[in-house]
Symmetry: C2
Subunit: 290 residues, 2 copies
Amino acid sequence: SADTAHRLALAARSCGYELQTIGVPKTIDNDLPFTDHSPGYGSAARFLALATMDSTLNTVSIPWHYPVKVIETMGRDAGWLAASSALGKRHDNDPPHIILMPEHVFKADNFLKQVEAVYRSIGYVIVVASEAVRDEKGQPLGTARQTGEDAFQHPLLTGAAQHLVELVIQHLNLRARFEKPGDLQRMSSTCISRTDQDEAYLVGQAAIQALLQGESDKMVTLVRHTEPAYYCSTGLVELAKIANAQQLMPAHYLNENKTMVTQAFYDYALPLIGPSLPDHAKLEKTKVQL
Amino acid sequence: SADTAHRLALAARSCGYELQTIGVPKTIDNDLPFTDHSPGYGSAARFLALATMDSTLNTVSIPWHYPVKVIETMGRDAGWLAASSALGKRHDNDPPHIILMPEHVFKADNFLKQVEAVYRSIGYVIVVASEAVRDEKGQPLGTARQTGEDAFQHPLLTGAAQHLVELVIQHLNLRARFEKPGDLQRMSSTCISRTDQDEAYLVGQAAIQALLQGESDKMVTLVRHTEPAYYCSTGLVELAKIANAQQLMPAHYLNENKTMVTQAFYDYALPLIGPSLPDHAKLEKTKVQL
C-alpha cells in the first residue's frame, strides 16, 4: 500500500540506506486520492457493468420467478464499483434501478418505498448494494443480524445483500434473491478494459522513469485530458499525502436521493472501461392479432 | 421442458386439435438424454473453466491469505457443469484440485484427507463442488446444518460450499472461503462459445424443418461426428423418451476416486466450448543471487 511504501521510504532515509521508493496506484476500489483513477478500476467496472446487464436478463424475462434481485459489489468505503454497475444502463427502466452506496446512510423505509415503487411501475427491481453500506448507527448491513452461530460456533455468514433480501421478503412480501460476483470482480480475464490495461503499463513506465530521475517517496498519478479525446498522462504526488487517505464518490456523481448515478459519472467512468458495451436486443412483445 | 412439450402433444392429439410439437434441447445442466449435448452447456462450461482459472489466481499468488477456496456450481443432479471447471487445467497442480460431483456420495473423511494432501503438497487447494452434492444419507450438503433461523424465521441460507468451508476450518484449521458464481454461469455474454451459439441455431433450424415435414411429439438431438473434425448434425427422438429422464456424467469421465475428470471428458467437452482457452503466464519464482 501507499502507507507501506511511505514507511519504507522514511525508514530507509532515517538509517541512511540508499533506497528509492515509488508507488504505483492499483486498486479496483478506485479509492486513491490525487490520481484521476487507479489501474484495475476500469476492468472491474467493465465486469460489473456487463455482469449487471447479463445476470439480470433472467429477472427481466421472467420477473414473476424472483421479481427482486440484489447484487452485492466490493468497494469497501467507496461506491465506485457499485456505481459502475450502471454503466450499461441506457434507459430509466434498464437495470440497475437502485444503487446503495457506502457513502450514504441506509434508511430501510426509503429503500422499501423505492423498491415498491419500481416494482409497481415495471414488475421487477434490480438493486446493487456495496458490501459496506451502513445503517444509521454506522453498522454495516447484515452484521446486526448475525444473531446465530453455526455448528462450529462461527458467526453465520451474512452481508448487505442477504439483509436486503430479507427486508424485501418480510416487508413487501416479494420473492427476492441475491448474488455476489465475488473474486471475479477483481480477476475476470474476459472483461479486461484495453484502456485500463494500457494505463497499467503507463504508470509502471512512469515509475521507472521517476526512479531514474532520482525521485523517491512518491506515487505515480494518472492525469486526465479530454482534448482532442480522452487520454492520460502521469504525474507524481508525495506518498505521505496518499497514505491512509480515501477518495470517495463525489456528491455530484449521484442523483438527489443518492441511489442512482448522474451523467457526470458516465462522463467520468465510460472512457475507463474500454470499447462500448453491447446493447442487448429487446423484443417488443407486441401481441399478434389473428 | 420436454415433459411439458410431450403433455401438450398428447393433449392436442386426444382432443383432435391440429398442433405439432417439436422440442429443442436447451440447458446449461447438459442433463438431457439422447442428445450428445445441449445448447447452453458449451457456453456455461466455457464460463466455469475461465472463472476457475481467473478467480483462483488470488489463492495461487498469496495462498497464505486463504489457502482453501471452494467454488459452488449449478447443475442439479448432474455434474457436467462442475466437471467443466477443469477444462482450463493443464497440469496436475493447476486448479481445480478436487471436484465434488452430485453423482457420487460425499464422504467427509475422504474429502478432508484429500484437501490436506493437496495443501501439504502445494500450499493451497481449490475445490469445485456441485450445488447438489449429497452425503451418505442422501441429504444435500449444508441442509443438515440449517439449524438456525434468521430474525424473520427463515432458514439461514447455506449450501454445499459453505458447509465444506466450515468442515475445512473445523477439522484442518485452515483459512477457507467460498464463492458462488451464480446466475453468471447461465448468462455471461463474455463467455459465449461460438460452437454453442452455432449449434443453438442448428437445433432451431432442425425444429422448423421437422415441423414442415409433419413431425410432432419429438425433440431435436445433436449428433456428434469426429471425421474429418468435430461437427454436429441433428436427429429426432420421441419426447416421451426424454420427459423426466436425466443424463448423468458417465463413470469413465471421472478418475478412480471420482474427484477429477479423465482425458475422455476433455475429449468430450473441449470441442463444445469454442476457441482454445488462454494459458495464464506463470512466473518461475527463481531467486536472484547477487
